[in-house]
Symmetry: C2
Subunit: 202 residues, 2 copies
Amino acid sequence: MRISELARETGVPLATVKFYLREGLVPAGRATSATQAEYDATHVRRLRLVRALVEIGGLPLAAVRDVLVAVDAGPDLSMTAIGTAHAALPPCPPPGTGTERALAVVESFGWSGAGQTNALGRLQAALEAMDAVGLAPDPDRLRTYADAALTVAAADVSDVPAGPVADVVEYIVVGTVLYEPLLLALRRIAQQHLFVTRRPEG
Amino acid sequence: MRISELARETGVPLATVKFYLREGLVPAGRATSATQAEYDATHVRRLRLVRALVEIGGLPLAAVRDVLVAVDAGPDLSMTAIGTAHAALPPCPPPGTGTERALAVVESFGWSGAGQTNALGRLQAALEAMDAVGLAPDPDRLRTYADAALTVAAADVSDVPAGPVADVVEYIVVGTVLYEPLLLALRRIAQQHLFVTRRPEG
DNA sequence: CAATATTGGATAGTGCTACTCTCCAACTGT
DNA sequence: ACAGTTGGAGAGTAGCACTATCCAATATTG
């Protein structure tokens, strides 16, 4: 398969495919001559992955690159696959955010092993911003959110397939990113459902 | 309170405050002379809201403007407050995305009244992207996600305070946007927790 | 009251991201 | 032989979110 077929197959503009190749987001094809290269199903898959991370996950290209590096490298010795995934994933917490408060919340749930993830910074930043506008969650609601998060997380980790490490990492990374919009969309639809059915008169 | 105090109070650079005033994201102060204006607590609150929507919610300024218009206008006659909120909220589904498949999913959960929200388009786009990379959720997992979404949505709508319509709208809009990062951060932390405690040996 | 500082407001410029366009020589198919 | 396509590189563009500079009118200070 040549580059233009790769572009057609995935629906990505040719110029953009070239751009991704230049940026190293998609690996080069096997050159068959000075002006021709051969691409295969792995390139199609990688290109679709990049687009999914950008369009569905909303990641900037730099983050996509980090994610792909993590996917290709597999987990290093000091991190679990999930840690590798999360370290590569945006959004990063705003600089200057501590994690003490988030840690306290997480510990109150009896969760452990969360000391390394930058999600802690995000959690704390979110809590602080809610405070600033006077809309911080009460403990009950926080608990409800935590329980729901734990439920979906349990589904996430139990679904991780056996197989080569690289596949596991890809599964986790992509699953983390791509399932987020799914969860948010379902939440919004559920809100609408509840609001409509609870208040048919209003 | 003068403009520079408003900037200091909220930690937003003065030039940025001026920019938001120009863009109409923060209402003008009460002019006391040709070169002086007076700002009060409502301006502080609005400015903090804008920053929270941008930094925590990750909204582009155009979306912030739409959200604020919805907040200020209150729900119009044809929409519930939640519909108003969601219509103003990004991200929009990529153009060309249908909603048939998403509708089928939603109906399989017995949810109703979701015909209007653009979250349907997001849901369908997410499902299609997952298909494209071969990571679509099986029905069980989708069900798990839907249940979790319904749980948090129930907490969301039950927490809506009684009060002026404008406050209700603000509560819903801000809650929808600001609680999303909270949910995602908790999910990631829960994943890490489960992965670490489930596989202490690996 | 004079000297200095600050203010609100407008205009233009910056830095970043994610493409998109243009060009070109080398090659392909007919 | 020759129009058409290809891979590759560089520069250009569009949008976004600020940020810097300027100005005359006012406020503050000694």
